[in-house]
């Protein structure tokens, strides 16, 4: 925070492991966007891994305890807790939800972290901060470079909306928060079928074939809907759709699809010549910061695998 200039709102910030590594452009663009919108963002000191899916998969108590400890670390910093990663967001919210409802679990977790579980601080995803706290009207007013002509497939994935009682972000089957933000930025959200389907998540390490199959369906569906690019709000979704895209495009899925077998593995119904094309994947914060006039070298565009710059150049946005 620059002295003398008061921030509109201030948040404590839990970036999560991915944002310091494979999802670094999400961190870079989040910081740039918050600065552009005059929102304060202060990282929780020495936060650690929330446990993500592997921890709750085999040991729920461990997962709850890790999150509860992180929530109490977050109390050191003022402001609601801003979380960018959909998995961290889901785990932290799940912990608050479970421990509020279940006294036995809370007691066990409090023993594990040797202290009281602190459940009072609101945990908010970046989407929620943009659309609700900052507000869509104000977001629209702040746009300096509207993303005109950019057709975007908004991809929610799993954990932003499911299970319905935990994230409290939007409707669990037909959300609109991403599309609303895109409209405020001047972009055009497309209607498509796979915005709520799973990308294969953490199977990217253990069983990449699963990711190739599921992410292939998502990329195909977005291309059928004539989207220029996909917008995500989760570093794992981004990793699967971006990092694995080249192998999906080159080699197809392990089994191949029926249409793929008949028309050749690259056949995409609905596209002009049936060919698959590269689909840039953006984080919501990259598109929002671009629309706010943040210089393009501060969006982390150079660290993604599928280069989005030709598309932005074509649309006169670079």
């Amino acid at each position: 925070m620059t002295p003398g200039k008061k921030n509109l709102l201030t948040y404590s910030y839990y970036p999560g492991c991915s944002l310091h590594a494979s999802g670094r452009e999400y961190d870079i663009s989040t910081q740039a966007l918050f600065k552009a919108l005059n929102l304060g963002l202060k990282e929780v000191p020495d936060w650690f891994c929330c446990g993500a899916t592997p921890a709750h998969n085999v040991d729920e108590l461990l997962s709850l305890s890790l999150c509860a400890k992180n929530l109490s670390l977050a109390d050191q910093v003022e402001g609601d807790l801003a979380v960018a990663c959909a998995a961290c967001f889901s785990r932290l919210k799940t912990t608050q939800h479970h421990l509020k409802e279940d006294d036995t679990k809370r007691h066990q977790v409090e023993t594990a972290i040797a202290g009281p579980a602190s459940l009072g601080k609101p945990v908010k995803h970046i989407l929620e901060i943009l659309a609700r706290d900052f507000g869509l009207a104000r977001l629209e007013e702040s746009v300096k470079k509207p993303l005109l002509g950019l057709k975007v497939a908004a991809y929610y994935g799993c954990l932003l909306t499911r299970p319905p009682e935990v994230p409290e972000l939007d409707d669990c089957e037909d959300p609109s928060i991403m599309e609303d933000i895109l409209r405020a930025l001047g972009a055009e959200p497309v209607k498509w079928s796979h915005r709520m389907e799973c990308c294969g998540a953490n199977f990217t390490l253990s069983r990449p074939g699963v990711v190739l199959k599921l992410s292939n369906a998502i990329l195909t569906s977005a291309q059928e809907a004539k989207a220029d690019c996909i917008m995500v709000a989760c570093p794992l979704c981004h990793g699967n759709l971006d990092i694995r895209q080249e192998s999906i495009n080159k080699y197809g899925t392990p089994e191949g699809s029926l249409m793929g077998n008949i028309f050749g593995s690259d056949y995409i119904p609905g596209s002009e010549d049936g060919a698959r094309r590269e689909m840039p994947i953006f984080y919501v914060t990259q598109l929002a910061a671009l629309a706010m006039g943040v210089p393009t070298d501060k969006l982390g565009l150079e660290s993604v695998i599928v280069d989005p710059r030709p598309l932005l150049y074509e649309k006169n946005l670079l």
């Binding site: 899916t53 592997p54 085999v58 023993t111 299970p163």
Partner: protein
Amino acid sequence: MKNKLMHLSNETMNVGFVKKVEALSGTSVRRCFQCGKCSAGCPMTGFMEHPPNRVVRLLQLGQGARVLAGRSIWYCASCETCTTRCPNKVNLAAIMDALRKLSWDADGPSKESYVQLANRLFIENIRTYGRQYELRLGAAFNMKSGQFLKDLMLGPKLLSRGKMKLFHQKNKNLPEIEAIFNRIEEMRKKGEAL
């Protein structure tokens, strides 16, 4: 098991196991009336020998061992679609978590070892480094699974873009993390937690 009749008796049914699953997951398998919505929406059924609704049916019939022997539980992506859509509020994602925990504690009679290995390394990483250290995660997975060349071409791409760090991040809370792990182990030893 496909074309074999299943004989149900006190000897072939393990009701105690089902009760454990119900206690761990906080949900009742008896609420399920087999509408199949969970399996219809599940993105992973293609990889499973028992689709989610059959997992619940097998539990209703006390056939926990059959579920654990397969790879279904390890191919669940925890996407929560089943839990979201269940008309009877059976928290299937939590049941899957409970089944994985029981299989994990029994040191995994399951066929699926890669997912278990990845989970083990991920949790080890938390205990050792506090935050995920992706280079170690990938390298250790390749070494221990014997797939030495898996995703090798991705490494330089990720490193050159700063998406993978050579060294792990330091964290002041490491002793506290270790203490959490130890306290949980202690609680389990004393029987204060499942």
